[in-house]
Symmetry: C2
């Protein structure tokens, strides 16, 4: 029961329901609702997305009209595209949900606000009056998860049900705002930071563990004539598929710590009603949510494919990791939209920094536009955080400044601001990726520096940091070659150093995944178990398949008549 | 019945069984087995892959020992890793299969050969003596497909059951080979060419149709203040996600025609016992199978993600396209292994061409190593097949020649040949991709040239060809910048031309997918139907979900006691 109610399986949204109340509710609201939720006296959900509206919050169509006479809000779904669609646990389980709706008072729209709405009876679970709700049907990798739809017809909730830490409608209909309008984004910011680890980094760690363990068991083709077939992890191509992603798993683990710190500091400030850090917090959580989920989704897929056919077997544990992580690129903000939110922040900061105005410490580097060349003279020079961090910084500044220049030029040539922005978006996304990549490399290098007392581990982590950084350059050579910061000859040195590192890290690959310390049960993979008994386990698990305990149902129905009819003719 | 027996659903391997007999069997064998198979008097399968052995055919462990006394082959599975694993239709349906096994005559191993083996009774479908077989369990996106395992214990088949068009064991045990040893690869070559269209290009066309149609219905965010939310296909980022893949679908459709031609010519030659084209055929089918499936798999995933949350709904039709195509990167040859087979061919041809020896026409370009610079002076100059085809050719030659040089240098420095090869494999894969990319661009441009009588269509196809070519440069800038063939300033022109093309093709995007002419039924997608009634269809289809016709089973069991217990305490 505990697992069903609080684990991965179900009612995840209950937590988000509680978090949104904690963050957006008044002290009085927190005191009323949180204890009820904690004891499961109600089951919560979080209803933001609509059938026709996702990441663009302002576009939501659900309305909440304040009725001064009854001191209630009247909630409605004006048309089919306004139906709430996707909220977890809402289709079949939740009794309450936080509905985001356009607030109207005396005919004036005040934008999107959150309202606590009861949707099902606490006694018999029947739908409340005015509520239409159900399940939206099967989804990729979330086949059995309850995602719901919800329509509201003149559903009334009390004035106290609008979450009112930051804004409130007073009994006479006066609208009062406390703090920044962006505060509505705070729940999303918190969720985005939280999902980086759970939904992206940990799945990548699991996939690396399975694929690397399998790659030292599986043998294929001979490396040397006359010898036994080689372990596939001894092939350079297999190393190149898996080891950079192992390094990335560590890199993103550290960036997650960085973001948690940033969020905690920001949250403390907000508690003191100081909202200065909110734009930075929002920009960083958006950009890193996007880059980490995107990277991890494609890396997990590479791990699956690196296991050959057996990777596709559900018994490998990889298909579910793969399809599940793919969804993280969309939920809690579609990645392209998030990248562009970060882009807005970076362009603003770049313009401010260029004009000599103060900017948050994380982006002061934008003021330092240097046309310098990479000083490396041999492949060994690239095994230096100074050299590669500088290259990443240079690339990020170049991409942000050149896109800012294009944007300005378009506007000066008479193109309207929003059209100009649209014409720059492909390049803006590239610029944001370069920025996030730079911060990730820098943070990895600094984290490794701080490990200085632990010699052996620090050495291995240094190699991993080099690998992550050089893999990024090797995979995006154009970004660094474009203005000659790294020359073609230097790029050959990067390639040489990068390929050398693969062979170095190959030696520690198994201990590095063992260090993630997943149990066999957690991995649930015939390929990735600690003991390496891959083939035995595949055969044993396959025999348990229900398809092997019954006759093929198609035989009696189709095959037998067909085969017999022909036989009788012989 | 017909659909069940011959459609996508089942018994696909029956066709491959027949093809392998047609290609590898003697006239007598063809005359005996093909009519039986045609009339479904038996159900065939194709048993090559083993639990521990995939693409590396020589590594197969199953044995077939010739017993002169009885004129039979005795087939055995020597250990668990030698179990046949994955063959389609074998776990639950097939009565016969073509088993690939190491042939032994008088203790001497002659390598892998194909044998027709009966595995189930034609009368009651029970397993034959010495046969253990079953289903290998659920796989990603092929949950309900029968993939089987097979163990053989002293299974005897007649001497006539070894497929003997190209080699034969005579009654006295004399082994006779006719033609090249590579002939065993011919079935695989045929299968690889065939799957490019069915398993990769058509699914990509479907995914493009769904995503592009949805993108002109879905609106999100405002492009211009005060206006309605914009169609998402009017965002540059959305165009950049989808339109290059639409162009790629056409590019790969044309390359498929090119390969079919090559195969047909090669096959005619082989019928005349001329095996000269076999290496080229094998290299091209391997390389293109790998590059097309890899590209299409990632493009379909982009289409899914470009539909936001609704892309993940099974009702969109995209999840099944996405996971199914992913498997095509592994079956019929793991892509990296295939790339390296093509690499071997290209390196051989490069060395031959450099020495002035004749090479197949498709690779004569390798002899023409020119250090030339791209002549483009403005962004318009890049709208020329001559300019970009030349850039692709230059890049392919540079990558192949530099890797060949590295290989030679390693060997000259004393590294053993196989180690040197392994140390070059990451770069060899890049070189093969550049080669295939070049051939694809060149073939696209030439195909468009041949359309000259059809003015309007030719103009649109020209734009698509430009887009495909410039997208490839834009996405792999480093490959072209490395030695300065394209300069940084020229790359900015490529980017400008490329982004301009997106807006041009946006106008024709819907007709270009309508031209694929899929019916709504074939697409089976709530997002991609011709009439664009996305939201209505999603809601209607969702209501039919079985989860909406029954009470949540968890309610009675878990939720009700929980909610009631707490209520009673109040």
């Amino acid at each position: 029961l505990h697992r069903a109610l609080s684990g991965e399986v179900a009612l995840l949204l209950h937590t988000i329901f509680m978090r949104s109340i904690s963050v957006l509710g008044s002290d009085k609201q927190i005191a009323k609702w949180i204890p009820l939720a904690m004891q499961y006296q109600l089951i919560g959900s979080y209803a933001q997305t609509e059938l026709g509206h996702g990441t663009y919050l302002q576009g939501l169509e659900t309305t909440a009209v304040f009725d001064i006479a009854t001191q209630e809000f009247i909630l409605n779904t004006p048309q089919i595209s306004a139906m709430k669609w996707w909220p977890g646990d809402m289709g079949r389980s939740a009794t309450h949900t936080v509905v985001f709706a356009q607030l109207y008072v005396r005919g004036k729209c005040y934008g999107v606000h959150p309202f606590i709405v009861q949707i099902r009876s606490l006694w018999d679970h029947s739908l409340c009056p005015g509520i239409t709700a159900g399940d939206i049907g099967p989804k990729m990798s979330f086949e059995h998860i309850d995602n719901g739809y919800l329509m509201l017809q003149n559903v009334r909730v009390s004035r106290e049900n609008m979450l009112s830490k930051f804004c409130e409608v007073q009994p006479d209909g006066t609208y009062v705002r406390r703090g920044s309008q962006q505060i509505n984004y705070l729940t999303m910011t918190a969720v985005r930071v939280a999902l980086i680890s759970h939904e992206a980094v940990i799945p990548l760690m699991k996939a690396c563990t399975i694929a690397i363990r399998y790659s030292v068991v599986r043998r294929q083709s001979k490396l040397k004539p006359g010898e036994e077939e080689a372990k596939i992890l001894d092939f350079q191509t297999q190393q190149e598929k898996l080891l950079p992603h192992l390094a990335a798993a560590y890199a993103f683990h550290f960036i997650n710590n960085y973001l948690q710190d940033l969020f905690n500091r920001g949250y403390e400030e907000i508690q003191r009603e100081n909202f200065n850090m909110l734009p930075e917090l929002h920009a960083f959580s958006s950009g890193f949510k996007a880059i980490v989920t995107q990277y991890c989704a494609s890396a997990v897929e590479v791990c699956l494919r690196a296991c050959g056919g057996h990777g596709y077997s559900s018994l490998s544990g990889l298909p579910s990791l793969c399809t599940r992580i793919l969804a993280s690129c969309i939920y809690e903000g579609e990645n392209t939209v998030l990248f562009l939110q970060t882009a807005r922040f970076l362009i603003k900061c770049f313009i401010a920094a260029s004009a000599g105005h103060p900017v948050p410490p994380s982006v002061t580097y934008l003021a330092a536009v240097k046309p310098g060349k990479c000083p490396a003279k041999s492949k060994f020079d690239f095994l230096s955080p100074d050299v590669y961090t500088q290259a990443y910084q240079h690339a990020a500044v170049r991409l942000i400044s050149s896109t800012a220049a294009k944007l300005q030029a378009l506007i000066q040539s008479g193109v309207k601001k929003h059209d100009a922005w649209n014409e720059c978006t492909v390049q803006l996304v590239q610029a944001v990726k370069a920025h996030c990549h730079y911060i990730t490399v820098k943070n990895f290098a600094e984290t490794v520096e701080r490990l200085e007392t632990k010699g052996g581990i620090q050495q291995i982590m240094k190699h991993l940091c080099h690998l992550f950084a050089l893999h990024g350059i090797f995979s995006n050579t154009g970004v660094f070659l474009h203005d000659g910061h790294i020359s073609g000859a230097q790029m050959d040195m990067v390639t040489a150093s990068y390929l050398d590192l693969l062979a170095v890290i190959r030696k520690d690959a198994v201990p590095l995944v063992d260090a993630f310390d997943f149990t066999d049960k957690t991995l649930n993979s015939a390929l990735g178990s600690y003991d390496g008994q891959v083939y035995q386990r595949l055969y044993e698990w396959a025999q348990k398949s229900p398809t092997n305990t019954q006759m093929n149902p198609a035989y009696e129905k189709y095959l037998k008549p067909l085969l017999h009819k022909k036989l009788s003719k012989l």
